[in-house]
Amino acid sequence: MTEVETPAIQLPDATKLVISNSPHIRGGETISNIMVHVLVALAPAVAAAVWFFGLHAVRVMALCTIGSMLIEEIWNKCAKRPSSWKDGSAALTGLLLAMNLSAGAPWWICILGSIIAICLGKQLFGGLGYNPFNPALVARVALLIGFPSLMTSWVTPQAGKWLACDALTGATPLGASGAAVASLNDLLIGNVGGCLGETSAIALLIGGIYLLIHKLIKWQVPAAFIGTVAIITGITHHFCPEMTPPALYHVLAGGLMIGAFFMATDIVTSPMTANGALIFGFGCGIITSVIRIWGGYPEGVSFSILFMNALTPLIDRYTIGKPFGYIRIKKEAAQ
């Protein structure tokens, strides 16, 4: 009956067994994983930008992306923090910033934007996860306010011409005049002036759907955001057509698509709860429409998202649902 111990049986070395709390296995998702997914989702829009603006787009995107990663590393070195460029968040911030710049942006705008985004927008608040505002948008708005003329002169898209280097100032679809200046078809494909990421609505939509499929963004944000803009501009256009173009034009033009799918959905700066995301989207939509129709700036997407970023802690606080089993307690207490 007694056990025969054969030397072949090997037992674990107890001193190497790690002690930790449960759970002891985990899913495969990591931060860099998420960031890579978002970068992949941006690929169609990047391709569209390169197609329409040629090597200029490549230059701006490369400067911003590499610049952001470099600045992140320099900051980490100076602040004696662990290196973090590998998680991909700096690259993503840089690329999103580039998508918010014109193809004709000078090199120093790209670098300055990267510095603002990484340092002011993110690292000053303690790095990834702690920034209350979307870093890329902080940089964009700071640049917009600091260099209004530079930031609002656009390059005319010249599809397929790689080296078209004349920085022509073309009309943007969302001028202050309130009239439609581009066809819906052009807006959808992206054959319009504007930021790199404001051109092709269809490319952005593909990216957005990719993110939705991978459950990396909450559908509530883009749906509420775009829906609200469509409804408000639609109603306004219905009653005073001379004031603003129709709803579909508003949905496709400007930064709404990239804003709704890539900026407003930024996980760090948007609410965590589903109801919160809905409120967040509504708020963004209302402010965007108000600024577009009545405001002094032609485009209100970045301002609206930043404003709602500021509201996010409040939204999070007041949209906490009742936990499982909570209702009964209330009922019993009432009895």
Partner: protein
Amino acid sequence: MASNVLTITIGAILVNNFVLSKFLGICPFLGVSKKLSTALGMSGAVIFVMTLASLVTSLIYKYILSQTFVVNGTTINLTFLTILVFIVVIAALVQLVEIILQKFSPPLYQALGIFLPLITTNCAVLGAAALNVQAGRGVIESTVFGTCSAIGFALALVLFSSLREKLDLAKVPAPLQGTAIGLITAGILAMVFMGFSGLV
């Protein structure tokens, strides 16, 4: 009248926000924004004081200070006393609020601490009164302006305090902790509010 009131409302709350665009009332903005609950209390107090102060000062201005009297044959206009009178009246009002608060809401009184007396010398309250005189607003418009400015102040304060509560959990670099990062946040918030320019 109605559109005028709407203009004043949007203008005072969003476009020309007292804190983020005019930089008035920064002291309580930074001081009472560490906790959302105190920020809400302070907001309530400021809305109350500013409405009352705007109403009272505009009444005083309209019916006393801007009038010309003839005393002993000399024509007298007391406009030059505006600031002085406003300060005194506002100070007295705040004292009243303080006494009442201490009686009826000691926790709020404790939480507001030094900042309640500070409303006395708060530039935002005096600013609202002075701006009313400058813009030549009537009594009702002045009161609306006072209330809306205070609501704008409250909005900024509440937003800011919720952000600061969040920042409390953040690993902010040591030299920037506390007021420093608060001011940076306020700067970004001010930038955001610039988006509303041109609305009115």
